[in-house]
Amino acid sequence: MNSEPLLLATPSGEELKLCPEGPWIAANVSMLETLSRSVGADVDQSRAVTLDMSGVSALDTLGAWVLEKLSRRASSSGRSAEFIGVADHFSGLMDEVRQVNRHTPPPAPAPNPVLLRLNDLGKSTVGAREDITIFLQMLGALFMALIGVLRRPRSLRLTSLIYQLYRIGWQAIPIVVLITFLIGAIIAQQGFFHFRRFGAESYTVDMVGILVLRELGVLIVAIMVAGRSGSAYTAELGSMKMREEVDALSTMGLDPVHVLILPRVAALVIALPILAFIGSIAALYGGGLVAQFYGGMAPAIYIARLHEAISVTHFEVGILKAPFMALVIGVVACSEGLRVKGSAESLGRQTTTSVVKSIFLVIVLDGLFAIFFASIGM
């Protein structure tokens, strides 16, 4: 037996006899393609083609298809093509292959590129409107659930709320402290480094204090929570949706917003201000350490400068923003989670969307608050 496939072509007058030999199997596919291409011209020129299969030692679907393709190429323009000497144990496969690929669907017409762009633009416009609608709907549903809880406080899912607080509040503290500590230290270092040139080193403390309390503390923490807890919410709710757990809840007469979403969003609204506070303190502490070891400023002086530089207003401006940012993160994360469809891919996509969208909205919200506080003189 041959270990390599062969294809012997013997033309006799206008007839062509093809003798495939050896193993015509998928493992030899590149050789099979070369062989079938090499006789292509001969097949086109001859009037009748005979395929003698008696030398084939092994055959699988791929090999059978390559041979069938040759015979179809021969028979396509009204010429004759036939198989002879097909071994018994190959005949089933050959018959099967003869049935396939008979009806190739017409290829889809290539779309107009301009129309395609316009279509995308239109779709994203409609999509943006839909996003806003879904956001508002979720906000409304949450509000209704909240009213329900206020009317019957016992219906609050306390266990769930505490558990979520533990997960997104308590467990987030180490990483929040670490990051904000580093951010505070970096700001202080940069302040000392650059302000030193015009002898305004002591103003570094003002900068660190105001920046951290008004903006950075809450913003960094909100972004971290959006990445850490918002993504977890989306993935959880999404996989619940995928496995029809959300539907199961609804059929038991329970409102998924009440059972699943309210405790999560409420936990975020409670936890984020606390985390923002802890984060701000860690940042101030980081700034203080840099002031001592890099700027040469005694801790007592740092604290005294801080005391002069910042007021309760700065703290209020920062901490007031936190619950609103938490609400935005929670609503986006939960509504994106409920938009997950059947596939695992959609879960990943919705989680990404959730994080990107909530970080974007948090920053936009921060900007709006900055304008608001500036105009009321805070």
Binding site: I25, A26, A27, V29, S30, E33, D60, T61, L62, W65, V66, K69, H89, G92, L93, D95, E96, V97, Q99, V100, N101, H103, T104, P105, K341, G342, S343, A344, E345, S346
Partner: protein
């Protein structure tokens, strides 16, 4: 050795598999003959899927030997895709690829061939499992349960492997679809000369397509043979399985 290579597709000897302290398979031995359809039955959680997954190398074994087409299996097997095709219970289609790409995946990874031929082979496989060329550009999420199983079968058969593993192929299908699927497996087995190892609970499949049935209980194969012989088995678990109320009813209908 030469003889066993001809005769047996899979030989399992004294296989021991366990998780932690629990032993799931306890010195299990099983031979699957070349070219037969072997059905494996057993209690839920009794180790049927564990046995299948151990043979294909997904679960490490603690003892014993496994030979597939005469070669011992150990650790990760290179060229596994050309030795066997596997139909997972839920299909396990790659959700980010279309049906066509799913079927082409093993071809693309194992062979060097032109895109044109690859497309034709994919459509050929699709039509062999009873689907139409129009379904080739759908995504797995758009398929019904029966179609998913068929596409998964087409992917398992993409490289014409000599051995096909099926994990509950008819679960979740309606009786008509399940019957069609059984017939399809029978036809493909004949045309492609496959050895089929099928884990199933479906008594109809066992009766209609399986050449032999093996019963797994207490971590061992307690009975093996054609369905007729198993029905006469004296083993208490096998009796309970085939002579329970549900089974009795079905067998009565079939006679």
């Amino acid at each position: 050795m030469g003889e066993s290579q001809e005769q047996f597709a899979i030989r399992v000897r004294d296989l021991v598999v366990g998780f932690g302290r629990q032993t799931v398979l306890d010195h299990l031995s099983l031979d699957v003959r070349r070219g037969e359809i072997l059905g494996l039955v057993g209690a839920s959680g009794g180790g049927k899927s564990v046995l299948m997954r151990t043979i294909i190398g997904l679960i490490p074994r603690q003892g014993g030997t496994i030979e597939v087409t005469g070669r011992p299996i150990g650790g990760r097997t290179e060229g596994a895709a050309t030795t066997w095709g596997i139909l997972f219970q839920q299909g396990a289609l790659f959700s980010s690829l279309t049906v066509r790409q799913n079927i082409q995946f093993p071809l693309r990874e194992n062979l060097v061939l032109s895109q044109e031929l690859m497309d034709e082979i994919a459509i050929a496989k699709l039509e062999m499992v009873g689907l139409r060329a129009q379904d080739a550009d759908k995504y797995p999420a758009e398929l019904s349960g029966g179609m998913t199983k068929r596409v998964a079968l087409a992917r398992a058969l993409a490289l014409d492997p000599p051995i096909l593993f099926l994990d509950e192929p008819t679960s979740g299908l309606d009786p008509i679809a399940a019957g069609d699927f059984d017939a399809l497996i029978g036809t493909l087995q004949k045309t492609l000369g496959l050895t089929v190892f099928m884990v199933t609970h479906d008594l109809a499949s066992l009766t209609t397509v399986c050449d032999r049935v093996a019963a797994l209980a207490d971590g061992k194969i307690v009975a093996i043979g054609p369905m007729r012989e198993l029905l006469q088995s004296e083993h208490p678990w096998v009796r309970a399985y085939f002579h329970g109320k549900r089974s009795q009813m079905l067998q009565h209908e079939m006679r």
